[in-house]
């Protein structure tokens, strides 16, 4: 820490703290037009000029961009400092005589009218004072680089390319929100919102949070969701070797610090233009080692967490280049990296368990960790050839094919094949979170976590201990997350950045301030006032309609919410032994058994009975909370209360499926 004195008051600051920040922390005001914590200091307006004395000499510096590195005395209102500030402000006042921030700062140094006139005098109260905040926020904050300065001297002005609004400008309005004079206004919003200002205020709040807090929270702007690799490994949640384990000693080799150097930094988001979180990362210039584009340097969109874990740890692959290459070819061939990763993990476990062998894979070695084998299957899949043609059909069909053609044990395949409703699992180990087992199993489109991610609430926080608690979470969160889909919004801004005061909000997991922000957004767009519970009601109608649609398509009953045992508990003896203490404890404390007197097979069987029974009880509780029958179908009363009974044929469909009055 460095001791500095500001206007006679002593304080200690960390090296690198600016004079402006140190003064503000003491409550000493220094005017500054071009400063914002959201962008790097710039020193453009010079209004923050102060005098510093290091004991050897005194000089004038700008407070906003002067980092403190040694003990100093700062005088914010010495004659010399005020003299400089007065000259600067007098020139500004001569040019922009009616801008409020200038008038106020000028009055503070005893100026009301300038002694001279300026050839470019602008009488507007909202004139641009060339502070550059808008330009810098567009560059450094939104990473969009649409705004720039043009001209020099008194011809300098803020502009867009060729003086026109380019299509790249999506009207995020970060520039307008940071402007100290109101010089930037939106001429026309093509979306014609009912109240654009309400939307922009809500947006400005998110911009501020992301730019100020993300760097110390999830670092989405640096590494995107890849920061989750190391975190999930720390919590035993990172899928390893087809979800057998939740951590691996090599996981650090695919942690976010290995991806950061190959991710392009400071580039605007390719997923949603103008998004400040900008978590969509890309690798530029990846040199392909395999496949039809071998030898070419390519741009790869990703990898995100799901790709890094699904096509990395879950396959026993800990080489970033291989994950990037798999990512590239999945995109190139139009394959989903999650489905590909999860189905390859299944294939590899089958290979190691003997259900597959070199003869059946056409000579491809598919043990865990086989990068060459994984890429070869991927290329075959795209060509519709060899073993790739089988693997490309997904886990559900592979289970049947392996049993019918290769004589594999169907029960084992069912246990380790991580799919439900025909969709491959996304990349989290759910064994120790019953709520998340339900979150995956009951999800309408199959086991993905878009509806609910409850592992921390359930497994770590122990916030939802009872079946009813879990059912409530499996009502609220899927409905809330569905709302993002209904409105075409991304949910990452909801919970991957947290307001400073979220801890005191009473329900931090729901991030209440952000939920209110979305209500503002909705009202601003549509003109219809909504409260948080109205958003849930909007989703509930759609969600229940989708469940009925699933029923119509043959996926909407209790049996379709069944999940493979691998997602509930240890399938193999090796898995049990790897976390033996944990499983024995559950047998002792919850099942009432004495593991000391049991064989390993007995312990596995007892644990399985207990866990499978709990899953069924969870389904009962969730169906009840949602107003569904014990077979998982919305009741007539439920569809009527939601008003979706008016959909033609819906009630008849329910009746035909045994739903009575």
């Amino acid at each position: 820490m460095i001791e500095v004195t500001i206007d006679g008051r002593k304080t200690e600051v960390a090296p690198g703290t600016t004079i402006l920040a140190a003064a503000r922390a003491l409550g000493i005001p220094i005017p500054a037009f071009c400063d914002s914590p959201m962008v790097e200091p710039y020193g453009a307006c010079r209004v923050c000029s102060v005098e510093v004395d290091d004991g050897r000499k005194k000089r004038i510096v700008t407070a906003c961009n002067y980092p403190l590195s040694k003990p100093l005395a700062v005088l914010t209102r010495s004659d010399r400092a005020l003299g400089v500030r007065r000259v600067v402000l007098e020139m500004m006042l001569a040019r922009w005589p009616n801008v409020k921030v200038i008038r106020e700062a000028a009055r503070d140094v005893g100026l009301t009218e300038p002694r001279f006139s300026h050839p470019k005098r602008n009488e507007s109260e909202s004139a641009c004072i060339l502070c550059g905040l808008c330009v810098r926020l567009c560059h450094e904050g939104v990473w969009h680089r649409v705004l720039a300065f043009e001209g020099r001297g008194e011809s300098r002005r803020v502009s867009m390319p060729y003086g026109k609004q380019p299509p790249e400008c999506v009207g995020c309005m970060a520039c307008a929100n940071v402007c100290p004079t109101g010089a930037i206004r939106f001429a026309e919003d093509p979306n014609r919102p009912a109240n654009a200002d309400r939307i922009r205020r809500a947006g400005a709040e998110l911009t501020r949070e992301v730019l100020l807090l993300d760097g110390s929270q999830c670092r989405m702007r640096e590494v995107g969701t890849a920061h989750l690799v190391e975190i999930m490994n720390d919590y035993d949640l990172l899928p390893v070797h087809n979800y057998r384990f939740g951590a691996h000693a090599e996981a650090h080799r695919i942690a976010s610090d290995k991806f950061k150097p190959i991710f392009s930094q400071g580039i605007d988001d390719g997923c949603a233009l103008g998004c400040d979180m900008a978590c969509a990362k890309a690798v530029e210039g990846h040199l392909l080692r395999t496949g039809p584009d071998k030898g070419k340097r390519v741009l790869v969109d990703g990898p995100e967490y799901e790709t890094a874990s699904g096509c990395g740890s879950n396959l026993g692959i800990f080489e970033p280049w291989a994950i990037v290459e798999i990512n590239y070819y999945c995109d190139h061939y139009g394959l989903d990296t999650i489905s590909f990763g999860t189905l390859m993990a299944f294939v590899m476990e089958c290979f190691e368990a003997g259900a597959l062998n070199l003869e059946r894979t056409g000579g491809i070695d598919l043990r865990f960790g086989s990068i060459d084998g994984t890429l070869e299957v991927l290329h075959q899949m795209a060509r519709g050839e060899g073993f790739g043609k089988i693997a490309g059909q997904g886990i559900r069909r592979m289970k049947r094919i392996f049993a019918e053609r290769f004589g594999a044990d169907p029960a084992f395949l069912q246990d380790i094949g991580m799919e439900a409703k025909g969709l491959e699992y996304s990349e989290y180990v759910t064994k120790e979170s019953l709520a998340q087992q339900g979150g995956y199993g009951i999800a309408l489109k199959g086991p993905q976590h878009d509806e609910a991610w409850l592992i921390f609430m359930d497994m770590v926080n122990k916030q939802i201990p009872t079946f009813e608690d879990k059912a409530e979470a499996l009502h609220y969160f899927p409905m809330w997350r569905t709302w993002f889909g209904l409105n075409g919004l991304c949910k990452l801004l909801w919970n991957d950045v947290e307001p400073e005061d979220n801890a005191e909000s009473g329900a931090p997991a729901k991030v209440p301030r952000h939920v209110r922000g979305y209500c503002e957004f909705f009202a601003g767009m549509t003109g219809k006032e909504v409260a948080p519970e109205d958003l849930i009601a909007q989703s509930e109608r759609v969600y229940n309609f989708q469940r009925v649609f699933n029923l119509k398509m043959g996926f909407g009953r209790r049996r379709h919410d069944a999940i493979p045992y691998r997602s509930q508990g240890p399938v193999t003896a090796e898995e049990y032994l790897s976390r033996e203490e944990r499983y024995d404890k559950q047998l002792r404390e919850e099942v009432g058994a004495d593991p000391a007197t049991m064989t390993l097979d007995e312990k596995r069987a007892a644990l399985r009975r207990y866990r499978e029974d709990r899953y069924e009880k969870l389904l009962d509780a969730v169906y009840k909370r949602r107003g569904w029958t014990s077979d998982g179908i919305p009741t007539l009363a439920k569809v009527r209360s939601l008003g979706i009974d008016r959909v033609e044929g819906l009630v008849d469909l329910l009746r035909a499926n045994g739903v009575a009055e």
Partner: protein, 66 residues
């Protein structure tokens, strides 16, 4: 000394701070809220808040997960 951490008993050495407990538990997820005996502990006090025998600690991880 003995604490209760997220509803479960936890044995630890005297003088452990909130920050130390978070490190021991490998709770590396950044979005957390900590309560000691139902009192909120702000992030900037994690290092200076010393836990006492019998304290009930809740380390609430916010949702997470894409």
């Amino acid at each position: 000394m003995r604490l209760t951490v997220n509803g479960e008993p936890y044995a630890c050495s005297e003088g452990l701070t909130v920050e130390g407990l978070i490190r021991e538990k490998t709770f590396t997820f950044p979005l957390k809220v900590v309560f000691v005996n139902r009192q909120l502990v702000r992030k900037d006090r994690f290092a200076s808040t010393v836990l006492r025998d019998g304290d009930v600690v809740e380390i609430v991880h916010l949702i997470g997960g894409g």
